[in-house]
Symmetry: C2
Subunit: 216 residues, 2 copies
Amino acid sequence: MSGLTIWTYDWVPEGPRGFVRDLRLRWACEEAGLRYAVRTIAFEDRETNHLAHQPFGQIPFLQDEEVEIFESGACLLYLARKSDTLMPRDSKGEAQTLQWTIAALNSIEMVTVPWWFLKVFGDENADLAGWMGKRLGQLERVLSEREWLAAGRFSVADLLMADVLRVSKVRAFGDRPATEAYVKRVTDRAAFKKAQAAQIGHFEAADRKRKEERPH
Amino acid sequence: MSGLTIWTYDWVPEGPRGFVRDLRLRWACEEAGLRYAVRTIAFEDRETNHLAHQPFGQIPFLQDEEVEIFESGACLLYLARKSDTLMPRDSKGEAQTLQWTIAALNSIEMVTVPWWFLKVFGDENADLAGWMGKRLGQLERVLSEREWLAAGRFSVADLLMADVLRVSKVRAFGDRPATEAYVKRVTDRAAFKKAQAAQIGHFEAADRKRKEERPH
């Protein structure tokens, strides 16, 4: 048994359930058959209660015996070293997995997250939407020619890219059939479904506990 | 001699010279003592002339014998495997280097680049500025307590984070003395100066050549 612990919040509102980023780590562990425990920090004072573990006040972070690591993308690359299921071991396959993992973080999410962030503030920013449309169009071209991003097989790069793309507002942006088929293909995997159900279950259980503890 | 080739543009306008992202790769090679060649694609039709090598139409990308890899962050992590100078080899040090490299790409640059992008369009976006101020403040707290991000020593995480932070508009944003000292510390390194001079020299030579070829 491994000593992996995934840290997440003790509770979140209903909206983000099924999308909180500990899901990326749960999913990777399920793909790789790595056992893990889940521990929590309090959602309420999250911006200050775990800065020693995550200096931006976010989750997830991962513990593996004496190693501790934050940033979901870094945790995924760390976990990928443990399992061929997440990353091929040949130098070409590994380089392709690495480049597409970083592309998800720095070419796609760099545009989708700020676009979504402004949208939440009611700002339908045309410049960011134009930039995002261009990037997603370039990705659509790639995905219309292959099933998986790296090395002709599923890897942690697909896990991350699909997680970035499955956000409902991003998914609804434009008509991109190859991307839509790709997101379905990746999130149809049993490991994703198991990880997502486990996360939703974790937060729903917290909800029930809160209600029970509420004074009558 | 290694077979490393860094691909960049044949020419860029004066503004971005010294900041084009092939610099990150040149700098890493200089730190690690890795020999490299520089080859170019045409700036003019850059959005379509190398999509087989870089599907977002950007540079740099790196060739290493039969391996080819794009995304500057991915190239840096790839190069880091070749040299202890770029990344410590113990599991804790490696995890710290990885997490801070990803933090530069996905927690800091994810905010600074869209903020700068909108600023170029004349949009002084207050929501993005607020978000950026928060992230840069969190980073300032970290940098006020340590000289290097990972493992108590210089690593590729510092190279990347300093390159993200040294952009003049980001540097001028707010009063962050520890961050400013950090950027100076990292960019005072001989390898940075050599790489930057080489990049500027590369583009200036292209400029002279263009002028010579211009009909009189």
